[in-house]
Symmetry: C2
């Protein structure tokens, strides 16, 4: 038998491809612009003598910069190696009950993977047909916790804050994690609710709007007690998760608010340009508030279904070095998730789609 | 009741203090020398346009450099955010059985913390009085896995490879993790055993001998199947753990073998100098093969026990801005763990100890 019967066997999350070289990469919702020049200056300015020493395990410099930016206290902030690390720690910390945790059937596909790897029971709640959230479904199920992405991925749909609040209010005995990875591109943040509810954690990432996917930095807001629980678990897994370069880079990114606003506005403009282009080509999609559009097309060839079309276009684009995201899972296999790039990239994409259709 | 009854409540690992400013820091086994100049050159040479993109989730460049250096295949290597991340992933992956895992009662104090956070039953096996490992104790207990640090921490004692092999051979149904964080400073690596045994994972860190504590890089060697299991779990927790800066820095550190050998020899020379100085002051200690010495003193003041002495000296040194490690746990509270610094730092330490005693 050997050691293998004691191995935790899992079906891991599949991240989007990371092709190198000259491609148009619209498959993992990165920012099409480089990070603030102050980020690279901070990294280049590191003292090599500091690299021999462990980084600050409390991430104080970064956490206080984040706290100041959002008008919170430093001990209401938790940082990690991308929002994936932060979310993973939240699952491990707050979802330790017996009842299943709840999240939508169509959402970030890492949620069920974390539940599985940590042995957390879960139940997927169907979205409405237009991909909107039915909050009443979260008010009647005894649960061990709730996770909501707002705006949701891969749909891009943002819910009104009142819907999110209804769910938090109806579940005082469960931690509700609101994953706001895409909130900077639209939608209403749950941040004002932190004062009102103890059972709320808000998770953010610097990989999208802060153009820092390569640095791996994410953060969470919560009340002090919840952040303390989160830190206890983090310090039971890895005391020093954020390296010296990440701490410096992420701090510089948070501090350069002007640059952040500038690139965010550019992405939002490109997104609206992309929507117009896709609409002209016969695609349909919800009103994305994220930095991607989740688009469907009835198909054009004889007997071609929406799913056939999505797959054909995905592959055709890839052959032309344009990477978008295609999911093979039923229902969403009728869609392409296209990250918002520069205006130039959006033009090339639309032209190539015209050719392919 | 609120959300708190579903919280995972843990007693986290306590890392050594990370004081900033002008201190002599001999408390977390960092390297007293900066990393290779090529490391900082690699970090400064990063293209800022790369920071906006996710890093390579497979860490191919780094893993192939490590594989080449040690004469292994790339898919026998796993990298993570320090050896703490690697060990934590190993616990989660390989210790999923029902029987308790085994490790010595005096060893790296993170092992029982990982076991607790992941709900893994464990049993501590006493070391002999001289802190050596009694391999027979590991041959008669039905277990779910074994973890051995060699050289051990905080004792610094290295075991002959034959002892380690006896344990691996006697437990074919358990994964044996050999934590070689300190192996570059002495002791025999278990690397040659990888060809013979499937149930072996060897874990290394770049925080000590490679002077890269601030970059957070650790790695593991194993057979391909075991590394695949480890990657499946890693990709179920966080797809991108190593950021772009860490990948570049760690690769440069591995590639500069000349510099690595030079600083390692210097640390070994300083260690032997430290041993001589401590011995002259009446300390006793085992034959450390690590970059620290675990030293005990009978005490000098009226009625002063070894534990009183250790605590008094720890505090006295701290007041003089010299940080060493003191553990309050019984038995080991009679010892000070002193990291090896530069020759100059060792001179100042010994002079200060003279004063204090």
């Amino acid at each position: 038998m050997g050691y293998e019967d004691k191995v935790r066997k899992v079906i891991p999350y599949t991240p989007g491809e990371q092709p190198r070289g000259e491609v148009i990469k619209l498959n993992t919702n990165e920012c099409p612009y480089p990070p603030s020049p102050k980020v690279m200056a901070a990294v280049r300015g590191l003292d090599e003598r500091d690299l021999r020493k462990y980084p600050d395990p409390l991430c104080s410099g970064l956490n206080s910069a984040i706290a100041e930016y959002y008008g919170l206290e430093e001990d209401q902030v938790f940082t990690g190696v991308g929002s994936d690390d932060v979310l993973s720690m939240c699952f491990l910390t707050f979802f330790n009950g017996h009842d299943p945790i709840l999240f939508p059937d169509i959402t970030y596909s890492f949620y069920d993977v974390w539940a599985s790897v940590y042995g957390i029971p879960y139940k997927c709640i169907p979205l409405r047909e237009d991909f909107s959230l039915d909050s009443s479904e979260y008010r009647k199920v005894k649960n061990g916790g709730i996770v909501l992405a707002n705006p949701n991925a891969p749909t891009g749909i943002a819910e009104d804050l009142s819907i999110i609040e209804e769910i938090i209010e109806a579940n005082p005995d469960s931690m509700v994690i609101v994953d706001e990875a895409y909130i900077d591109f639209g939608g209403e943040t749950a941040l004002p609710l932190l004062k009102k509810y103890e059972n709320l954690i808000i998770v953010r990432t610097m990989s999208k709007s802060r153009a820092l996917a390569g640095i791996r930095a994410g953060y969470a807001f919560g009340n002090k007690k919840a952040i303390k629980y989160l830190n206890d678990v983090k310090f039971s897994v890895n005391s020093y998760t954020m390296n010296t370069a990440a701490l410096a880079a992420a701090k510089a990114a948070i501090e350069d608010d002007g640059y952040f606003r500038e690139i965010t506005e550019k992405v939002i403009r490109s997104r609206e340009q992309l929507k117009t282009g896709l609409k002209d080509l016969g695609f349909t999609f919800g009103d994305s508030k994220a930095n991607f559009v989740f688009a469907r097309h009835e198909g054009v060839l004889d007997g071609e279904t929406a799913a056939d079309f999505a797959k054909r276009i995905f592959e055709g684009l890839k052959e032309r070095n344009i990477f978008v995201r295609y999911f093979s899972r039923k229902v969403i296999n009728e869609y392409l998730r296209i990250s918002v790039g520069t205006e130039e990239e959006m033009r090339i994409l639309i032209d190539t789609l015209k050719e392919l259709i």
